[in-house]
Every structure is written in structure tokens, then in C-alpha cells.
């Protein structure tokens, strides 16, 4: 097996492979009697950088500008579909679209390539570990065809790491050729370690990750599945908070949404339902007290308009907890302090001290959002992700994710994206438009 050496230390986008793909793809390259060109070659790539000057500089300095391999079917495949066994696993928190991807992977394996042995690993990485005694689920078109109508994951999930050697033992024992992992940052880490162990044992197992993050914060991936659905449903919470706020004199609606390190959901939902007056996200600092602080600004808003809506990403304002001790959840993530309840109390005691009656309604819709079925947009997106994951895996590619960049589905090496994170840029179009839509201005004292 060939592992690409790193010739561009900054950005190596080449995809690892299990070996030469020698088998003719069973996919038909013809329509209405004419041959059509549906196969992608590994040399079909798209530029990562879009700025003409930067690209020209790279080229003029004799280098090749970085580009991503396009996802899609290959003319030659590595695995023999009639003998191939595949496994799917969904890890971490629920996210709209999990079932859609399971469905898409299974249908593509079954109908396009003729693979007949597809196994669902139950309850995330736990499913690989014998002591949990979770059964394996056999997957076929018959039992996945309608699952996209339901939220959640038919395989179930779990948080936290599991022993890597035991996991690979299981893959070996089951004789798996391709492992499809659907999960977030922790899963990318696990995938990387599984990959290492597979390589060390010299096994012919491909690991393909379909990145999952309801926060839309995966590095080098412009859009992740479930995000559109999450924004869509978040608007219902905003509407509710707005009507509750408007409904009473000096009413306040306070909503907490997902967003541990990145405020994409909160910022986008603010644009999708423009009833929000203050949006607080992890990327943008804010003070509570003082002339510019949230509490003063809130009081001013109430004086002018008699109601206010505040939208929080769960990771906002963590600076207020700096003195408290750090705890970790089973996935190894730092446990966030609850900024929602914190703010609720701060606001209430601020106005109590001023003897103002402030009806504050607190809404936390997170678990109603995560468990929903994907909307149409995400369903289409998941269809492509799942099918491209199959094309990549069966062609013998490994240690990669299916990404989306410059409006194209692409192959991104796991090491390029794991452990990094996309964030809302303060000067960017999204946040600027949020500022225009809310009129909140600066919330920091100089």
C-alpha cells in the first residue's frame, strides 16, 4: 500500500489508497445509446483557493496550487463487490440526516455495485466491543428504504472513545473491507487511529468518514449535513421566543441553540428568522456589565421597544466561568458551563434589583432539533454524500472524508481536517449581516 509522502507540508490533499484498482466498475457509462462521461479520474480536481492573485503567484513561482480530488464513481474499482463486506457506524450526538446517509450508502452498495453484505454496527463505537453485547444489524434495501422519514439513527449511537485494537480485531473478525464512519471530530480522531492500526496490521480495510457536525464547524468543509435542517427548525424557537416576548410588557425571550465553538447555527438562524435583537456566539466577545454590556443594552432596548429576543450559542460567554473547574464529557469534550441558565439568572437579578417585572421565557430546543428527520435539502445532500462515500471506498481509497468545497463534493484526507475547526469570521459576510439584522452593535466596553 502506498501512503503519499507529504510534498507540500502546508496542504497535502492526496488521498491514501489500498492499492491499484484493477476491476472494471459495473456502473454503466452510457445513456440513450451514447456513451457519457460519468467517471471521475483521480486527476480531476478543483482548486481550493479561489483568489486569482494567490493562484497566479503559486503558479508563477513554479508550484502547483492545492486542489481537492473530485468525488464520484471511478472506472476501475479495488474491491470485488461480490466478496466485499462493509460496515457502517454512527457516532456521537444525533444530527438530522444520519438515516439518510445510511440509506444512501446501502442503496448505492447494493444496487450500483451489487454488494450483498452490509452490516450496521449498533450504538457507535461500542458496537465493536464484545462486552457491550450489541447485536450487529444486517442492512439491505428492504430495511433502509423508508428510514429517512424518521429522525435519529436506526443504528443508534454513543459518545466517547473505545479501545482501538479491539475495534480493529472486530473488523478483522468480521472480514470488513470498507468501514463507513459517520461522526464528528472525535470520530475523525478515532478514524485516524483505526487507520494507523489497520496499516500497522497491513490489512486491506478502507476507512471512509462522512463528517457530521450539526454546528457546521468542520475545517475545510464548507457545509455539513443536518445544518440546513437545524437552522430551519431553530426558526420555530425564535418565533416562539419572539411572540412570548412581545406578548408581555418588557417581555424577554431567551433561546439557547447548539454551537460549542462556532456560532454558525445561531448566526444563520438569526438571518432565517429576523426577530432576534442580540446574538451571542463563541467567536465574538461580549460583556455583561458596563455601558456597552449586554444588560445595559437590553435595558435600553426594553425602554424603546418593550420586548427583546436573545439568541445564544451554547459555547458563548464561557469566559464568565473561567474560575470554575474544567470537567469533561464521555466524548472527552470539555463540558461547557450552562451559559443559558447563567444569563437567565443574571438578567433576572439585574432587573429585580431595579424593581422591574421582566417576564423572561427560556427556550432550549436542542434535543427537538437533533433528532428530527432531514429536510429536502439535507436529504439531497446526504444522498450525494453517501453515494460518493461508496464510490471512494470501493475504489480502494482510505483515510479520507467526503467533503464539500467550492460547491463540489471532494475527497479530503482525514489528517487535513481532524482536530481543526471552522469559525464565524467577525468581518465576514455572515456576521456583518447578522449585525445589520439585529442592530446589536458592540457589546464590549472599551
Amino acid at each position: 500500500m502506498h501512503i503519499h509522502p507529504t510534498d507540500n507540508p502546508d496542504m497535502d490533499t492526496r488521498i491514501d489508497s489500498l492499492g491499484e484498482a484493477k476491476i472494471e466498475s459495473p456502473i454503466i457509462n452510457e445513456l440513450n445509446g451514447s456513451s457519457i462521461d460519468i467517471f471521475k479520474e483521480d486527476t480531476d480536481t478543483i482548486l481550493i483557493e479561489l483568489t486569482p492573485e494567490k493562484v497566479a503567484d503559486t503558479i508563477n513561482s513554479g508550484k502547483t496550487p492545492a486542489s481537492f480530488e473530485l468525488a464520484g464513481p471511478r472506472k476501475k474499482i479495488f474491491f470485488d463487490p461480490s466478496k466485499l463486506k462493509c460496515a457502517l457506524v454512527t457516532c456521537g450526538g444525533l444530527c438530522p440526516g444520519l438515516n439518510n446517509i445510511i440509506r444512501s450508502v446501502v442503496l448505492e452498495l447494493y444496487y450500483s455495485y451489487g454488494v450483498r453484505h452490509i452490516y450496521g454496527i449498533r450504538y457507535g463505537l461500542q458496537g465493536f466491543i464484545p462486552e457491550y453485547k450489541h447485536d450487529v444489524m444486517e442492512l439491505s434495501p428492504a430495511n433502509v428504504v423508508d428510514i429517512h422519514e424518521m429522525g435519529g439513527s436506526i443504528l443508534g449511537s454513543s459518545r466517547g472513545p473505545q479501545d482501538i485494537e479491539t475495534t480493529v480485531d472486530c473488523l478483522e473478525r468480521m472480514n470488513i473491507g470498507i468501514l463507513f464512519m459517520i461522526g464528528g471530530d472525535g470520530t475523525l480522531m478515532a478514524a485516524s487511529k483505526i487507520e494507523d492500526t489497520i496499516r500497522r496490521r497491513d490489512l486491506k480495510i478502507s476507512v471512509i468518514v462522512i463528517p457530521k457536525t450539526i454546528d457546521n464547524d468542520i475545517h475545510m468543509v464548507s457545509k455539513s449535513f443536518g445544518f440546513d435542517t437545524a437552522v430551519d427548525i431553530s426558526t420555530e424557537a425564535i418565533k416562539g421566543a419572539h411572540k412570548e416576548a412581545e406578548g408581555y410588557p418588557n417581555g424577554i425571550g431567551l433561546i439557547k441553540l447548539m454551537g460549542r465553538y462556532s456560532g454558525f447555527i445561531a448566526a444563520t438562524a438569526t438571518l432565517a428568522q429576523q426577530d432576534v435583537n442580540f446574538v451571542l456566539i463563541p467567536e465574538i466577545d461580549f460583556d455583561l456589565e458596563g455601558k456597552n454590556g449586554l444588560l445595559t443594552k437590553l435595558e435600553e432596548r426594553l425602554a424603546q421597544r418593550k420586548h427583546a429576543v436573545i439568541l445564544l450559542a451554547e459555547g458563548a460567554g464561557q469566559k464568565f466561568f473561567e474560575s470554575r473547574k474544567i470537567e469533561y464529557d464521555p466524548s472527552g469534550n470539555i463540558k461547557l458551563h450552562d451559559i443559558g441558565l447563567f444569563l437567565k439568572e443574571k438578567i433576572q437579578s439585574y432587573f429585580e434589583a431595579k424593581n422591574m417585572d421582566i417576564p423572561l421565557k427560556y427556550i432550549d430546543p436542542s434535543y427537538m432539533i437533533r433528532s428530527l428527520p432531514a429536510n429536502s435539502n439535507d436529504h439531497v445532500f446526504c444522498t450525494f454524500l453517501g453515494r460518493d462515500a461508496v464510490h471512494a471506498g470501493i475504489a480502494g481509497k482510505t483515510n479520507m472524508i467526503i467533503g464539500f468545497w467550492n460547491d463540489h463534493f471532494v475527497h479530503v484526507p482525514v489528517p487535513m481536517t481532524a482536530g481543526k475547526r471552522k469559525q464565524v469570521s467577525p468581518g465576514g459576510k455572515l456576521w456583518q449581516t447578522v449585525l445589520e439584522a439585529t442592530g446589536q452593535g458592540s457589546l464590549v466596553n472599551s
Copy 2:
């Protein structure tokens, strides 16, 4: 003005009146050239009791069985529409359908009767009190025609009583003929006192209440507006909780819904989305500990099925707080202790003590439900309620609510319903079907 003496002490259903209605109704009693009989007489009534034996017994003993006046237009009206001024006020918590009723009252007054002076009192009973300085809102078809598309109340609301004399001063000063009050039990109490003051001052003001209770617990009213919408949306929370529970080994979904004293929403939502394993409502006792207690039953359920969904009405299990001191909210209601957070902690510590990892997701969608626009069913229902309220008020009736009984819109005297409450019957069809749907059985130790 004639106030009916009470000839049947158990159930006096006669409606108070401001005096004889002498003006011809402007509503046209004709269609396609033929006269049609659209007017109701005060003698058009429906039986309250449906059991033939009981009705026969009453009749055979020479008495008249109790019946409700049918709502609807009267041939003669009391007020002269060209001179009439009306006021609307919405009180207490938000509920789907408030705007629909405002709209319906305004359109009926304006188009059917030609009333041109309709005032919206802002922020509930506060709007009558000068010191709050809430402006009055002039209402006309142009500014209400689309309000049913939005949740909340365009008038706003507030909780808690206000001074009755000051309120009636305001009605006098504004020269109001009909006051339409949309509110719950507290509003019925206030209406009763306003009525008394009006009578004492010998004013010609009609007070018509459209009863509002998202809990559907008004005595002698079989169905209240907003309830169908509330159930509808509650199913989304149940779906979410179910998928979150299924999504992890030993996952638990815990949902808290409205229902202070009556579990109609929780029970009906359980039938509307049959993913619930345990429903807890104020009317049905349950234990936590012991062989039949919820915690044991929950553990058994997890052992068998690996996940569970629990649905709570907010008023369930208040016995667990008996030792704590009683507090009151601004409306004078006893502040309920938070059974949701209480149960969440009890469950978590129970399983922690057993060293079991139990992913519990807690969902409280109340403020997303209360502030929603009414669904089609409630919109139609509110249309009838609002129009019948107008017919009653303009005919000079007073001290009454628009009720719904045996599938008919009826007039119910305020004293007959205020301060009483409908509850889920343990042996009735609703709860029995809930028990069949959940299989939860008894949760009380003998």
C-alpha cells in the same frame, strides 16, 4: 336589568341580560330568494345531560332537565351598532388562537353589524390602569385581517389581577358597551367582579368571556381553543424525545408539557404520537420508589427495550414537594414545583447509584407551543367562538362565556364555570386508551 333568580340551585344555566333587545338585527335571513332560519331564540337550548335514564327521571319527576342556550345570532339586538363601542382584552398566558379570536370578533362586529368603534386593550388588565400608560389600539378589519397567521396576541397580555374599580372607571370613561375578555380562570374571576361593579353602578355594559385554557380544563366546556394546536405540536417534542432515547443504549427522553391540574394535553399527545412509555399527570398518583414505583418500572423497561420515553404534565407529582413552602405567581396561582427537573435528578441519581450510564435528554417545549399560530382546526373553532361572542354581546347578554358542549356552541353563565375545573377521569376512555398505548400499568405500591 333582570338577573335570573336561581330556581335550580344545582345548575342555573340562564343568561343575564342588560334588558330587552328591541332593535332589528341587520343580518340578512335569506338566501337565493328564500327565507332561511338562521336566528336562534333564547329558548333554543340543548340538553346538558345525555343519559336517557337521568333525563327521563328528571322529566318524570316534573322538573325540566338542565340545558344550555344555543349561541348564534338573535333576531333582535340590544345595542345600536352605529353608536356601540367595544373593547377586547387578552389576559394570562399565551395560547394558540388569541389572534384568531380577536380577528373574528372584529370582523363580525364590523361587517355583520356595522360597529365602527372597536378598541384593543393592551397587555391584559394592565391596559385599563392609567399608571401603566399602555396605549389603546384601534381595531379594524385592515389591521386584523392577517393576524391569525401569527402566534401570540397582537394586544399583548399580562398576568395578575388589577383594581376592579379602576377598570370599570376606564370602561365608563371610554363609553364601552361590550367588553370581550379572553382569558382563563383568573379572568373569569375578574369578569365576575367587573360584572358586579357594573351592576352596582347600574351601567349598560355587557361582559362576554371567551374562555382560554391551553390545558383544556374549563368546567362545563368540552373543548377549548388552542388545545388541538398544543397537542399537535407536542407530538414533535415526543418524536424528538423518542429518537434521542432510541439513539443511545439505555437512552431516556423526558418531556415536560403544560397541565397544571389536568393532564389532557399529556394524555392526548400520548395518543397522538404513540412513542411514550410513561405518562404522569396530576390526576393519577405515582410512586418513585418501591416495586411499582416509576424508577423500578423504568429500569425494567430499559432492561427489556434499551430506551424509554417519559411524558410529564407540569402539575404531576406535586406530592413530592409537600414539605416545601408554597409560593404564588403574579396571577395568584400556586407556583408549581418543577417536577421535570426533580424527576431528571431522581432518575440520574438512581442509575448513577447502580453505576449505569443513562443518557437522559430533557425537553420542555412549553414556550414554543403557547406562542404558535393556531392550526386549521383551531382557526375554524375560534372563528365560531368570536362570532358567537359578538352575537351574544350585541343582543345584550352578559356575565357569560361562549362554551362548547355536546358538539354545540352555547352560552354558559360565568358563575357556573368560574373556579371549577375539568379533569381526566381515571376510568374514562381517554386514560384507559393511554394505559393501553403505553402499557405502563399501576405506578403505585399497594
Copy 3:
């Protein structure tokens, strides 16, 4: 077997029975250690008539006022659940709620009574006839638990009658004890004939019908399943038509809805989405030409408001086709002439003759409505209908439907309802409120 003689020729509401119910019901009549009274007796009835005077007259003249048996579980049952075989069949056009009823019947038979042999007959009455070769579908909780999320009928349906003797042969051959039929007027006719044949052959087979009519026009049934969902979705078509009409100068939106002989859907949808200017239903005559005719009124409306929305029930205006020959569909119903396309052309040629450019948009959403999943309200309603059908059948009752009257689920004899029809009353509350909401007035020339 006892067939009730007719002692009240006008209204015999007694229910036929297969014989004495001798077996103890397995349903537990106890909660939290106390016995609760969940069983209904056949003598538990509710009055049909609600007018006190009429009821008193009947009683005073020494007669018993007509009443319906209440639906619900009986203490003693006729069939031995361990040996019982049941069949379900869905007939005629699709209607939201079919799957909900199938689900509810199966769950009740299985869990409450322990019945293990439940068969789904495919494609309506065709499924009984060998030559069609439709397989029977075995039904159990596992394969019905999620079907209510989907529209349509998992059993499929078909139109038109089938041979009765062959049908009963099939029931005999399969050894069916209870046949649950879900269908409309044609199905009631078929049920009646099947019942006669069963009695003639002296078989112990119960026939229970759950009446289906998206038009809500079943005689002696105040509400039928699927109607609420149909109204709900119809509002989307009205919104669309309204926006299309408003969108262009002199724009017209024309919508055709269900309603062969009764305009309940069109009238109720008009109240649920009050954007309609003209509603045309089978019960209310209208002219096209002349001073009061629709075309003149439409022109006046356009002159005043620049747009108009017209809502048609499919059975409206059939008088315009009187000269054409009568055709029948496979169910034996008269084929309606297409009033929608007829009106579309009439309107267009009327305004063309006046040289007016009239952008008319025609919307027929019928097949998007019929095939939808039931909404929450209908799901709860279907849950009760299905469970009550089981209680009735297993108690040995037959030749009856599960009806809904005065807000209660009741048993109604098939002969009392078959072949009759409920209609919108011109002077009633529904149509009067429609006239107020549309302002359309009379559309007939004197």
C-alpha cells in the same frame, strides 16, 4: 342468533349480536389498587336528540327517546381471543387515517385481547376474490407500528363491488371471526349484503364497519376520520390560489376540492383560510349568467379588488350538465362532470369577450390530500375508532359501524346509515359563517 325486531320503526338503534357473550374480558378493570369502572354495558347509551322539548314530548307520550349504545370495552366477550381470526380490508378512495385505523385495530387485538391471527386483505374487496391473486398480508404490531407516519393504506384499496358469495366463501375458508371493513357508502352496502349472506349461511362472523368519507357526509355520524386533515391541507391550496390571484392585475384563483354531494370540506376550508370570495357547493344553487350570476359578481369583485378566489366542491353546479348523458365509475357512483374545467372555460371566455386579460390559475389538490398521513387530531380520533371497533367485534356485535355523535363514540346499525347522506344546511351555522366570511351573498337570479 338474535336479530332485534324493529319496535321503533323510525329509528331502531339496537345492535345485532352473534349471541351471548360469556367469556370474561382480559382487560384489567383496576388502577393503582382500586377498581375503576372502564366497562360499558349495552344499556349505557346517549340520547340522539338534544332538544329538551322533543325529548320531553317523547317521554311524556310514554315512549323511550332514541339513543345510541356507547362504544367501549365490554365485561364479557363473545370470541375466544386465543382462537379468533380477524380480517381487515380498506375499500374505495384513499383518505388520511386508513393506516392509523389498521394500526389501532391490530394493536388493540394483539395487546389488549391477545389475538394472534390478523389478516390484511389486499386491494379492497378484490382481495377476497381468488382470480385477482392478491396475497393476504399477516398483520402484527411489528409491521404496523410505524405505518401511521405514512399516507395511503398499506393494504391498498380498489373501487367497485365484488361477488358477495365468493367474498363470504373466502371468509369461511379463512375461518374469520371478525371482519373489519373500512370504507364509504359502497362499503356499507357491501357490508349489508355480506351480513345477509353470513346470516343466511348461519355463520358466526361479525362485520364491523369503520365509516370512511373524506367528504364527512355519513348520515348519523357527526365527524368522520380524515376530514380534519383534508381541511388542513386544503388551506394550502387556498393560500396558493390567493397569492396567485393577488399577484397579477385581475388575477383569479380557482380551486376544486373534494365534495361529491356535500360541501363540508369546501365550507370548512373557507373558514380555515379566509381568503375565499366565492364558495360553490352541491347543496347551494348558483347561476352563471344574469345580474346575480357568478360571472357578473366576479366581474364586480375584480373591479373593486383586482383579484378573486373561487373555491369549488367537485359536486357543485352539476345542473349545468343536465343535458349530457350519465356515466358511472367502477364503484357504481355517477361520474361527475368536471365543474372545475367547465367554470375555468366559462370564466375565460366571458372575460375574453370583454377583452379583459384575466390571469386564471387552476388548482386541483385532491390527490395530494387524499394520500396524506393523518394529522394529530385525526390520529387520536382513529385510535379511538379502531379500538372501539375491536371492542364491539370481540363482544359479538355485528352489522354495525363505529359512529361519533354528540361528542361520543357510539354503535350505529349499518341499515340506519347506509344509503343516506349528511349535507350542509343552508340556514345552519357553518354555511352562515361561510357567507359572512366570503360576503358572496346570493348567486341566483330571482
Copy 4:
């Protein structure tokens, strides 16, 4: 005024300008006390071509690869907001999102730049022509803030061209500085002519087009507003057709969707609701008769699966009407022959000839889709489009559209896109995935 000469004849992407922008933008370029870089320069561009080889070739041959100017606020603006008057007009067929764009343009003009004179032109280009007597609508935040909740266009629309000189007379008379046109291909043509006339008269009027096409077929624009909503709602029609088809033996569901020349909606909806067996779009040929023809394939499908769903774009199969005469609609578009009704009849007569009873249900939801409010995704998209249109216009740019390319909002010259059209590529990812999802294969005889 400077009009860029064409230095790259193939692709001139430079944007015309009314002159030098000399006024400081009032938009604040600072957050939380730090300056942030929110302004775009005209030299901030993105590459159009993403293939590294092609870009390298261009650069290595000494040329500059084509790129689009990025949309967004400019540091200097051309118009003085305090004196600026703006006009908005919506043209052609309705499309979800029209109101969102109107709202976004008005809010941006008003709040970000302080423009106080914003006029809505009623009923499309008709609104400029005195003889139609359509009033102008004054637009301000108060009357647009909630319009995105409604479908349609508050301005109304109309089809067809109007006299260009009269139109520009109106702009002159009203003293308009920026004209925002929201419309499709016909509007691009009109914009081009209006632009020419403005230049000829040497007026300082900017013309900014926000391209509207529910078919998503605008050349050089990767995604147009309303498309996501249209796909979303189309899935409801597919579900309905599927359930109706499944509901009867040999049932067929036939749906006609939008798509005059491009099948993007039909193809994408097929992936969003994967119940379709045959998709027919303008870009892909199909036969009716013969071994590979649709009718034969349909018969085979019915034999195997007993039901089928067919989804049509309105522009598919126009070859079957070649002998008929060509007609034009008021917009000057060729009137398409109705392939939906044509196919319906062909299918029915084909199976009638074979004596098969085929229940075919025909669904045309087009006017329910076009008039809907935009979903969240489209609302966010429209927010950006409207605001970027304002930034461009106020900076003095003209003769351009706000486009979307490689995931960025960009400026595209009108001449570059008018009169051209994007189509579904037979070998591309979309159509290939459709073929996999439907399994329909070739429908053309060799």
C-alpha cells in the same frame, strides 16, 4: 460614465459603473473596538474556472483567468443616501422569495444607508406605464417587516414586455437613482434595453437585477432563490402520487412540475423524495413506443411492482408536438404543449387497448408551489441577495445581476447571462444519481 471595453471577448466580467464613488459609506467598519475588514474592493474577485490545469494554462499563456467581482459593501459609494430615490419591481411568474428580497432591499437601504425614498412599482413593468393606472407603493421597514411570512409578491407582477421609452420616462419623472428589478430571462432582456436607453439619455440611473427563475436555469448562476423551496414542496406531490399509486392494483401517479427548458426541479425533487420510477426532463430524450419506450417500460414496471410514479418537467417531450403550430404567451415565451395531459391520455389508451384497469392519478402542484413563502434556506439566501443588490447599486454599479458562483455572491454583467440558459448535464452527478435512484435506464429505442 465609463463602459468597460471588452478585452477578453469570451468572457468579460467587468461591471459597468455610473462614475467614481466618492462618498464615504456610512457602514461601520469596526467591532468591539477593533477595526474589521468588511468592505470589498472591486479587485476582490473569485476565479470562475476551478480546474487547476485550465487556470494554469491561462496564466502560463500570459493571460488573466476570468473572475467575478465579489458582492458586498464598498468603502466609497456613488449615491448620496439622503437624496437617493429607489424603485423595486417584480416581474413574471411568482416564485418563493420575492417578498424576502423586497424586504431585504428595503431594510438595507433604510437602516444601513439611511435611504428614505423607496418605491414599489405595482404589477411588474405595467407599473411604469401610465395607462394602467397602477399606484406606486411607498416602502418602508414598517410595511415590509413581516412580508416574508407570506408567499407571492406584495408588489404584484405581470408578464410581457412594456414600452422601454415610457418606462425610462417614468424613472426620470420619479427621479429614481437605482432600479432594482427582480425577474427572469424576459426581465434581463428588458433590463438590457432600459440600460441602453438610460445610457443614451445619459441618466445617472443604476439598474440592478436579482435574477428569478424557479427552474434554476440562469446561465452563470449556480443557484437561484426559490429553488430550494420549490423542491421542498414538490416532494409533497411526489409522496401523494406515490401513495395513490401504491393504493390500487396497477396504480400510476403522474406529476407535472415546473421546468420549461431545464429539469433541475424534477431531477432534484426525485432525489429529495425517492419514490419516483421515471423522470422526464427537457434535456433527456425519450420515446413512447417501442421496446425501450416509456409505455413498455411502464408496463414492465407494473408487472413487477404493481405501481409506478412518473415525474414530468413541463418542457419534457415537446418533440411529440412538432407538427402542431407554435403559439406564444404574453411574455413572448413559446407556449408549451401540455405534455402532462398528453401523457395521461397516451398511458390510458395504451392500457385500455390491453384491457387493463389502470387507476391513474394526475397531480399538477405548480401554482401551489410558486406562491408559497420561502423556506429558511431561501430566506437566508434572499437576505444576502437583497443586501448585496443594495451595496452594488449604491456604489454606482449598473447593468449587472447579483449572482452566486462557487459558493460566493458575485457581480455578473447582464450581457453575460441574458438569453442563455443552464441545463442538466446527462453525464453529470445530478442526472447520474437520478438514474441510480429511479433505475429507469434509457428510454430511447436504438
